[in-house]
């Protein structure tokens, strides 16, 4: 099977948006432009935004749009080269040495090499998309390592020599902005800040993502969530939570709760902080009624 090349899929920002919508992801004009530019300029795409606005989902949709596999590298404090680049399978090497006895054996053969996400992508840049998720959680050292990888797309393995990508891989980075990323990293990327969508778009997203939610419900949820986000909460609800809320309320309604009541009882999937809950509880009835009106 031959995959469509990136250029033929991404002919214009509108084409990208259409393809994304086919993968059940609604991108606004700004995001689809950024994706289009990242693909065509051959630069990594850096997506920043609050938790739950669909950064990771965007990466999944891009992989689907290009018909490629998504290789995900989840960052955390203390991640290092052995987790991101490659690792030798020592146990297997030892066994092989035992087994070989008098014979000569190359213990740096491919079968002893465990490819980690970055190497996996490098080996097949045209079949895979790399997602470096939550890069703000990693430490500065790892950011520097990644910077080197992103500029040359090559990895040096002392025992094997340098492995280069045959084509420019597509890379997506996401960050929750819990700390500032290095300027050098931002500079090298096409950048997009994903904000919360407006009520109309959010309703459309809920319709697309949730199981079977009536349009009126989706609109009401979107309006209520907008109004909840405007309050000073410790953790404002993301889009994913809004979708869950619409789902949960629909299930409760089918179970026999009337509408405003169903929304109120399902609030636990939208707001997951005890203090926020007690803050919003007295106003919730009014917010839901206004949204339903």
């Amino acid at each position: 099977m031959t995959l469509p090349s990136a250029e033929t899929v991404a002919t214009s920002p509108e084409a990208v948006a259409q393809h994304l919508a086919a993968s059940r992801y609604l991108a606004d004009e700004s995001l689809s432009t950024a994706i289009f530019l990242a693909i065509r300029l051959g630069k990594p795409l850096l997506l920043e935004g609050a938790p739950g606005v669909g950064k990771t989902e965007a990466a999944k949709a891009i992989a689907e749009l290009l018909g490629r596999d998504l290789v995900r590298l989840q960052c955390y404090e203390g991640i290092d080269a052995a987790h991101a680049l490659y690792e030798w399978n020592y146990q297997r090497q030892l066994l092989a040495i035992r087994h070989a006895g008098e014979h000569e054996i190359d213990i740096y053969d491919d079968r002893f090499l465990i490819a980690r996400p970055l190497l996996q992508v490098l080996k097949a840049p045209e079949q895979r998309v790399l997602l470096v998720d939550e890069i703000d959680r990693s430490d500065h050292e790892f950011e520097a390592l990644l910077l080197e990888f992103l500029s040359d797309f090559q990895i040096s393995i002392p025992e094997r020599g340098t492995i280069r990508a045959t084509a420019q891989p597509i890379v997506i980075l996401t960050s929750n902005r819990t700390r500032e990323l290095a300027e050098a990293l931002r500079r090298r990327c096409v950048y997009h800040w994903i904000g919360y969508p407006d009520a109309e778009r959010e309703a459309a997203i809920i319709m697309l993502r949730a199981g079977d939610v009536a349009e009126a419900t989706a609109r009401a949820v979107a309006a209520a969530v907008q109004s909840i986000r405007a309050r000073p909460l410790a953790k404002p609800p993301g889009i994913a939570e809004a979708v869950e809320w619409a789902n949960a309320a629909t299930i409760l309604e089918k179970g026999g709760s009337p509408w405003p009541e169903a929304f109120r009882r399902a609030i636990g999937v939208l707001i997951k902080d005890e203090e926020d809950l007690s803050y919003i509880a007295p106003e919730l009835g009014r917010i839901v009624e206004e949204a339903l009106a």
């Binding site: 065509r40 819990t178 700390r179």
Partner: protein, 375 residues
Amino acid sequence: MRALPRAATPLLGFGRLLRRYGFAIAPEQVSGFMQAVTLLGPRSMADIREAALATLAPPPDRRDEFEAHFQNHFYGNTSAVVEGDADEETRIKDDGGASQEQIEVISQQEGGELSSGAEQLSTRDFQRDDDGLAAFRRKLASALPARRSFRTVRTHSRGKLDLRRSLREIVSADGDVPSPLLRRRQTVPRKLLILIDVSGSMKLHTADYLKLAHAAVQGADRAEIFTFGTRLTRITSALRIRDRDQALARAAAQVDDWDGGTRMGPTLLAFLSVPRFSAFSRGAAIVILSDALERGDHAELETAMRRLSARAFRLSLATPLAGDPRFRPATAALRAILPDLDDLVDGSSLAGLTDFILSLARPAPAAATIWKGVS
């Protein structure tokens, strides 16, 4: 080499304009911008705007400013000045991405509130304090409370077997088993968060506190400094400048609410509502330098302190009022927040304060226990 087409000149000029206003724009970003515009057509001004946003990457908190410059440059619309709306919301200022080019411009500014703030900084300059601060800076990194990191370090004793490295040794020794190698989990210093009250009632002390904050930023790997009065301002990036006078002048210029009133509760809540700020407070040693004289209702202050204390490793309040031996936590606000505090200490002298911060790693009885005895 091909000459650039005439139409590209405004694009180049826009990059230069942004740089002049302290956006960090690299040459490769400008060329990326021009490539992007070519790729997109451009069919409309909207395309140019999208290309600029994607390639020049303005920090999200300076987005409005960026938009205004864009309007100004490409539409010649000079009336689109960035003007913050003065509403009830607590305003947050974070100058993370600004480059150092701004320093000169700011140090030339004279008159008005800014210079009064700057003057104050230079009045109380005692040699003794300086020596104390230099020592504080040297000791800070090793004195901060530590936590165990996910990362491990090699060790020769008191560790667990490092299987991966040992096996690698064995492979390179062709199957011989040399002495096993050990590893241990590393300890890293916790984050230090200092929140400085710059309201009128703290006027005498803010200059000292800023010096302390500068020493803390220079000494510790991960320290964040905020000032609060009626607004919340992040001044960490200004204090990263090594030269103290320059750093303090820059920080002084960033703070807009010098010697004003206090809205401690709302500003602290504003701090907590920005995810990346509140993420910084998680597991951190938080030191609040304030007299906690909250005007009016203290319910918000109580909520904010409870949330902070739930996130923090240790929450301390240093108040200059406690320098008086007759001081008791008697105000309604202080009594309400006392159960949430790990320490309530004297913040009137720089020496006492540096000693206290250096002792944060050592356990101490909770503030409520200490002050119950005396009141």
